[in-house]
Symmetry: D2
Subunit: 367 residues, 4 copies
């Protein structure tokens, strides 16, 4: 059973391949009445590009967004919203040559086995980072929806390789700073060193990974559907849709495993007539439910598997050892591109759960 | 929309509360022909108890498993399998008193808001560790199914607080050692120090967390359903069904974020006519698909939130600050109990995906 | 992929077999705050029995309902509600003898093939009318929920064999009359002739079928989720969960195919400040959405396949022609038993869609 | 929760509106290896048009099919297949004028209430017969898949208004005859009278309905997933995705309700080493499972609600009685257009269940 849809109320179905005609999504369950235009999507896609130019392999031609359905007179109609961008500049020649030589760290090998060799292997096909562009499109809808209910989702880089930023920033600072930093790290002095590390890795024919943090502010209390569809469970699942993710943690995360209960428990306080916690080790989730504090999660991104260095692999037809040098346009670090994608899937998951728990209604406002 | 079911082919629906009549599951989609008896379940539940006695609050009366449906003449019939245990020794008096005082680190507060105060708060209700007993029941079915296809799932403790074990063991050693260690850590000298740490925490009215590792051996290649139902995505989601989980990582995990691509990529080799990898940083998953190497994941467990020390909280009726001392029977460390639960949800997820990918058929063998 | 759950917000999972230990359901998604007790279920089950005694094979010992989970202090908690009855008086000897001889009109033959012979064939196993008792339990919850929003669901017999009732009755009359009539037909003079027809069929070692009509009053406008989860689509699907159903139609139904558009279209009118229709050919559904008029559907029930007369069949082991005389306790007409089951599945479907469309909230009323 | 997807293994997601840019589908779960080209889709769409010209409002410009994803080198890859046609010749002026005047028999009124007035009402929007073009696209994939396993699905008209055909035809005759008959009735003398009835209705500013029969030949035994996802249940649900459907029945259907058990039961026979039935009252389904005989269902189609005659309606803004004369291009009978749509949804449902039961594998054949 295929698994290209996610969500139970805000249902995102992904389609498209890296070197196929398009990448796109169908969003079923967007409440009628949400204002929506092609410009909303375009703006989000455009914003991603410039600062990254130095360190990532951004396709030069701009992605043009097309809304195919579900929007009428500037508003979501309640019908499924299909939205897509066409693929351009796809040079598939590089891939034909290495069809039998699976790239280490890539899905080439298990994908070939799973799909009996019928999968579109060009540029990683369905497994390409390119697919995240469509997630970002769905994320635009989710974020507009969440914003209407004051929820603000923000992702940003906090580590590249061994360079780690621990400074905390306001939402406003994060937005402003990350737009300037090629690495999307709001800690600008850190960001500079990160950029250098990426350029150095590239020069060495190598790559680096990193960690992306994502917060969601102003979440209402009680969102999430345990036992299985706990809020943290569904967020954890969602981030793995992004290639290169190898781990996720909430609040104190793996560090919580080293704390005593008396250190890790967040004491409750009444503050301004609201229940808050004195610390935020829980990452905004208790028992799978939002607790009203900021949602905070961190996502580990592995170094790009496509590197210029020669690597050992196997020839799957001959079933013998071989070596491979991956050619073509490759990012020495996918973390900057992962930032908006993680923001998108977190927003998608929160929008889904906000509708599931009844906080966001099925129709936003009648004419 | 409630979320008490997981899986798309091997579908587990959980029911029951900590202090209600029962905890149980319905498993829909178990292939007809799997041999199954109450003894299979009983054995798994019984095995958990003795060694843990020193450090956990095991209910003294034995859990008796009842199969309600789906098994006939010793085999799964293809119909839904309902299986449950009754709750005994539930002393609910301790909870009534603290109804208005949410325990820090617990779901009490968001659950009360979400369910409008109608939730069964006794012993944590649906949010109790007790619910994992039912997961273990479903896991028994999943493991029997997987074993038939040679897949072996094993969870064990690798850290309690700051005490960490890094030694590697064979499956046989893990099974043998963890049955002796109260903490379920196969590294027995480590296990002893872990036990001491737990006893010390208890003596201090405090608690500790830890890390559980889980491996799955002999997985076939190509299991998983990206984009969204990637194997790692669904495993990550599943482990969050267990209370106190705060993070999950695969293979090198968060450490991968610090490696160079040339270090992190696992080179492919032909070995004995099979494709293997020289290293195992991927944790057995590439692009959301199993790659034929052992699945390896680690799960961060926070320290038990129920501690004897006085803590700050709020009175939700009066909306004023208050303090709480949690009474009753509590484990100073839930990691040992999390071990079989994690093993169970990993097995459930793998069984589901083995059926989804067509490796396990719908009927095991006709009479 | 097994299919023992129905609904997307009010999710009913069925388990149990005719001659197994129990039949039961888990209902996930019942809004917290619905008052619920074992007496609610018991009353519904008890009400079914007495009048039917003359013509159906009611098990003599009373079914005792047990709520296993999801109810606390007399209210639904928001957690899954498991509820079941134990099977008694199961005499399985009659079935062993005919294991290889599939009964004409029964599922015996395809079930044996599908489940590789592992299915519980005693009394029809999962395919028995006994399974509808569990549907009725889920229906009790659905009806209590709907009643709170003024929706009233009523099923009743309108035909047994060739005897057809065309008189219209008020909801009150239907309730009163059908409780008196063994055949559950509110047209009491008709009901008497129906009873005679059933008794005559029994005397001849034969059986009869019939038609059940079901209405739902006071449905709000706009409930249903086209394209695929149209209200009529999901109602049509649901009724086929009841053994012996062979057709379903809404409003004018198959007769609409013979009308002109000018005859079949229901003109809109404003009446008492509300939009109503002058006629009710649509059966309360337009474009898959409720239109505010009574939902009206009719369900065709085939004659009971278990008849005393000798019938031709095959011996599946020997693969040769054979004959069979079905022994044991059998109803000459299952229509009276289908009435509450159809009422239940219609209520379940409407409750699901009322939550899906946001009319019924996730929590009914906070304490 | 929106409902624009159907199926659990062969999952069809529909998008698009009558007067929007496109109508399309995403098919997730098509087994890798199925040969597929734009020509396959185009051929099916083209075949529909010519004979119908006399009696339906076929858009004159040809629909051009575009495959957006999921096909590579002429084969399905295992990734989601997005396929669509653009809408042309949409004249939306006629609709603006009647925005406040819901057309009797149409979804206008409940759709406006449900979506708070945000729905695209032009040409019926999501509720238009135009949406069935996308279903036909998905059906092309399903039929190619089924054909590979010898299953042949065929729909055809058997009644228009009061003109009914009762003659039986071979699959070959049906295919040949229905392509010639504007009404898609294989009984050609009947077909002529049907055509006259449609032309007469049109002349009178009125419309007629009819009945479509659909058969599926060579189905294997045991396909279907009771309790709820019974084969007949899912087929019944699927046909209601087609506008104007008001009823569905299998085999003897509503007539079975009038038969005695001894008449309705289909005796089993061994014939050519296979189990068959002497009669076919069951319509190929027993207990929700295919029994190896031809699936046979009939679908009631109401007369087109759009008629030229003046009708009573209400002004929804003024909330007062009004009258309406529906302008624009309308079919006096939608039955001919419903034929390929019903064939498509039946094929989609059977393909889904053939995969669910394991008869059709996940990958068709490795390279």
């Amino acid at each position: 059973m295929a698994g290209n849809s996610i969500g139970k109320e805000f249902i995102v179905t992904s389609f498209g391949e890296s070197h196929g005609k398009v990448v796109g999504v169908v969003v079923d369950g967007c409440p009628a009445g949400l204002p929506l235009s092609e410009a909303d999507f375009q703006e989000e896609l455009d914003r991603r590009i410039p600062a990254e130019r130095k360190i990532v392999s951004a396709r030069i031609e701009k992605d043009n967004v097309k809304i195919l359905s579900g929007v009428f007179n500037g508003f979501a109609t309640g019908a499924p919203i299909a939205v897509m961008v066409e693929n351009k500049e796809t040079n598939s020649n590089d891939y034909e040559a290495i069809k039998d030589l699976p790239r280490p760290g890539h899905s080439d090998y298990p994908a070939r086995i799973k799909y009996g060799g019928f999968n579109d292997y060009r540029g990683g096909g369905r497994f390409s980072g390119r697919i995240t562009v469509a997630l970002i499109l769905a994320g635009v809808i989710a974020k507009k929806l969440l914003n209407r209910y004051n929820v603000d989702v923000l992702a940003y880089t906090i580590a590249i390789g061994n360079i780690k930023s621990t400074k905390k920033f306001t939402a406003e600072e994060i937005r402003k700073n990350r737009s300037q930093a090629s690495t999307r790290c709001p800690d600008l002095s850190c960001a500079e060193r990160m950029e250098e590390a990426i350029i150095a890795a590239k020069a060495a024919g190598d790559s680096v990974g990193g960690v992306v943090e994502c917060i969601a502010l102003n979440m209402p209390v009680g969102v999430g559907e345990p036992l299985f569809d706990a809020l943290d469970a569904d967020l954890a699942k969602a981030v793995f849709a992004i290639p290169a993710v190898k781990g996720v943690e909430f609040g104190a995360g793996f560090r919580a495993a080293e704390l005593m209960g008396s250190q890790n428990n967040d004491a409750f306080l009444v503050e301004g007539g609201k229940v808050v916690t004195a610390t935020e080790n829980a990452g905004g989730v208790l028992g799978g439910l939002s607790n009203g504090m900021p949602i905070e999660l961190r996502v580990a991104i592995k170094p790009t598997p496509s590197i210029a260095k020669e690597q050992r692999t196997v020839n799957l037809s001959a079933m013998e050892n071989a070596s491979i040098t991956v050619k073509g346009r490759h990012d020495p670090c996918v973390v900057p591109k992962a930032v908006p994608a993680i923001e998108a899937v977190v927003a998608i998951t929160l929008a889904d759960h906000m509708i599931r728990s009844g906080v966001i209604p099925k129709v936003l406002k009648a004419h």
